[in-house]
């Protein structure tokens, strides 16, 4: 269980998160949707440990994450796919994946994890010796997800995985997320692509101006008139 309780955070005088609480159970797919500037990326960074929380707690199965250094958060079982993909452009695909399996807790398994990632994304095997920065956006996103999987996460956290990708590629990537979830990994998707995200997830949170304003099943959010008006333009 990933449990976020009353988290506040921000930058200098500008507060970006006001009292955010949410829960993700083992095996769930949950989405956090919201407009630009709602604090989505700040929330992801707080969960990943690279941005400090001002107050509140983030717990994974009872282990407090906010006090861990960021490089140990992934050892605790959360892997992050950062916004805009952010693969290491000047390293090869194989080396990018290798870095994903960097934490001491998962290093012993990295060959078998690598095999599994290659099964999910065969294209990465073809491109193993290519520089990551020379691949297409969709391929980079697959690499970013594959790299996160190398950390053998129990929770996979994705920040806007659909950003800048063609719809058919987004569909493909979301299908892969379903598959990963079926293998037992909980998935948290932070998205602006509301329809796709809600169709993928079983539950959703709506984040607006640093507050969770709605928390409901994905189906009911899709039907919600306010959500439809704000995000679907209908």
């Amino acid at each position: 269980m990933l449990k976020v309780e009353s988290v506040t955070s921000g930058y200098g005088a500008a507060q970006a998160l006001w009292d955010v609480s949410l829960e993700v159970a083992e095996g769930e797919i949950v989405t956090i949707i919201g407009p630009n500037g709602a604090g989505k990326s700040t929330l992801v960074n707080v969960l990943a440990g690279i941005h400090p929380a001002w107050s509140g707690s983030v717990q994974l199965d009872g282990v407090e994450l906010t006090s861990l250094p960021a490089h140990d958060v992934c050892g605790a079982g959360i892997a992050v796919v950062p916004e805009g993909r952010q693969v290491f452009p000047e390293m090869t695909v194989a080396d990018n994946l290798e870095i994903g399996g960097y934490h001491p807790s998962v290093r012993p398994y990295r060959n078998e994890t690598f095999e599994r990632v290659i099964e999910i994304f065969p294209i990465l095997a073809d491109r193993a010796t290519q520089l990551a920065g020379s691949m297409s956006g969709g391929e980079q996103q697959m690499l970013a997800i594959g790299r996160a999987l190398m950390a053998r996460p129990r929770y996979l956290l994705l920040d806007e995985p659909s950003l800048g990708l063609a719809p058919v590629i987004v569909e493909n990537i979301f299908e892969v997320l379903r598959q990963i979830n079926r293998e037992g990994v909980s998935v948290v998707v932070v998205e602006q692509n509301v329809v796709e995200a809600l169709e993928l997830a079983s539950r959703g949170y709506v984040l607006e101006q640093g507050n969770i304003v709605k928390d409901a099943s994905a189906d009911s959010l899709l039907e919600d008139p306010a959500v439809r008006a704000a995000y679907l333009g209908v």
């Binding site: 290491f88 390293m91 960097y102």
Partner: protein
């Protein structure tokens, strides 16, 4: 990464071993003593540039701290060996340790703060050298503004005459620096540093202990730069604050590394050899005033024309490099370079080889296949 393995270091060691006997066979081969001093000059800059690159080239954190580390080494000898009569060889080690402590302090303070990435880091490291210079200037125990005559220090006899001694000491440190760079490049530390260079936040979330890795690399850099500086104090003879803490060392290591390429341990070595050789020959030919101008101009050209650095470019175009070098030797020979010195001849070879690989690809052939194994980056991706 996989392009350098243990064998590379063994070869480096074997090469160093051969050079070790250079002073012994010098007279038999009828080489002038100057060769040893020139050799030391190469070793000094190879050690400095390689050590700088081990931190900055691999991690992407631009450091001007080389002057501070170098200066710490020089003044460790000046203070401890000259003023306090500590055993000279021991003060070399102390010089390395003092520099490492300074590196540690910089690292612990600066790396804790996320705001101090990028330009601010570069300026901070530059400021450290200025602060050290001021401290040395006002405290008579260190310098007091008078300078310190290191040439009065007694040299251990078993190391031979001065040229032999400095040649061999320089060789040891350069070999150590190069093997350290090789080891880092193929280690987990190296991988971590490369990922930091590309994106530090992402590296951290993937489990790379960025703080520890940056500190470790900076410590290695500082330690080697310090020892190298300590030995260099003998070469300087009379050390003054203005000379030691000038911008020359930090600037030249950057120049050499960028020229040779920062992504591979061999880059700084190539850069140091090219810059030292050309600079030395230009000075000898009476171009003292403009030799820095020419090396500076070369750097600008390189940054524009050969982004990945000379070494990777030469490796990607071995034929052109070889032809350029040979052509340079022939031209040099025809112009009578050999009458002056073997070094002049080599300088012709290096100069023409550099020019040959710098020329755009299209002047020669259609594009060659890109080399993309491991850390290599090729112009076509640039």
């Amino acid at each position: 990464m996989t392009t350098t393995n243990r064998n590379t270091s063994l070869i480096t060691l074997a090469f160093a071993l051969v050079l070790w006997f250079m002073p012994s066979v010098r007279e038999t081969l009828d080489f002038p003593v100057f060769f040893l001093l020139f050799g030391y000059s190469l070793f000094f800059w190879i050690a400095q540039a390689s050590s700088w690159n081990t931190f900055t080239g691999f991690s992407g954190y631009f450091s001007f701290g080389q002057g501070a580390f170098f200066g710490a080494g020089v003044y460790s000898v000046a203070v401890l060996a000259v003023k306090r009569d500590w055993p000279l060889l021991f003060t070399f080690l102390v010089g390395g340790l003092v520099a490492a402590v300074i590196g540690l302090i910089i690292g612990v303070v600066v790396f804790r703060l996320r705001k101090l990435r990028g330009e601010i880091f570069a300026l901070m490291t530059l400021a450290v050298a200025f602060v050290m210079a001021s401290v040395a200037r006002v405290s008579p125990a260190i310098d007091g503004g008078q300078g310190v005559p290191v040439n009065t220090v007694e040299l251990p006899e078993f190391l031979g005459d001065f040229p032999t001694m400095i040649f061999r000491l320089g060789l040891i440190v350069a070999t150590f620096a190069v093997i350290t760079a090789q080891s880092v490049q193929r280690s987990r530390l190296g991988w971590g540093l490369f990922s930091i260079r590309d994106d530090e936040d992402v590296a951290e979330t993937l489990g790379v202990p960025t703080f520890r890795f940056k500190i470790t690399a900076l410590l290695l850099t500082a330690f080697i730069a310090g020892i190298s500086g300590a030995i260099h104090s003998l070469q300087i003879g009379y050390v003054t604050i203005e000379d030691v803490f000038s911008i020359r060392v930090p600037l030249f290591v950057i120049l050499m590394s960028i020229l040779g390429g920062t992504k591979h341990w061999m880059g700084p070595v190539v850069g140091a050899v090219v810059v030292v050789t050309l600079n030395d020959r230009l000075n000898r030919a009476g171009f003292q005033e403009i030799s820095d101008l020419i090396t500076g101009g070369l750097l600008i050209l390189m940054i524009v024309a050969v982004k990945e650095g000379l070494y990777l470019r030469m490796r990607a175009r071995p034929l052109r490099t070889a032809v350029g070098f040979t052509a340079g030797l022939v031209i040099g020979f025809a112009l009578g370079a050999l009458d002056e010195s073997l070094i002049t001849l080599v300088a012709y070879g290096l100069g023409i080889a550099v020019l040959a690989v710098m020329l755009p690809l299209s002047w020669f052939a259609r594009s060659e296949p890109a080399v993309t194994d491991d850390v290599e980056e090729v112009a076509s991706h640039g």
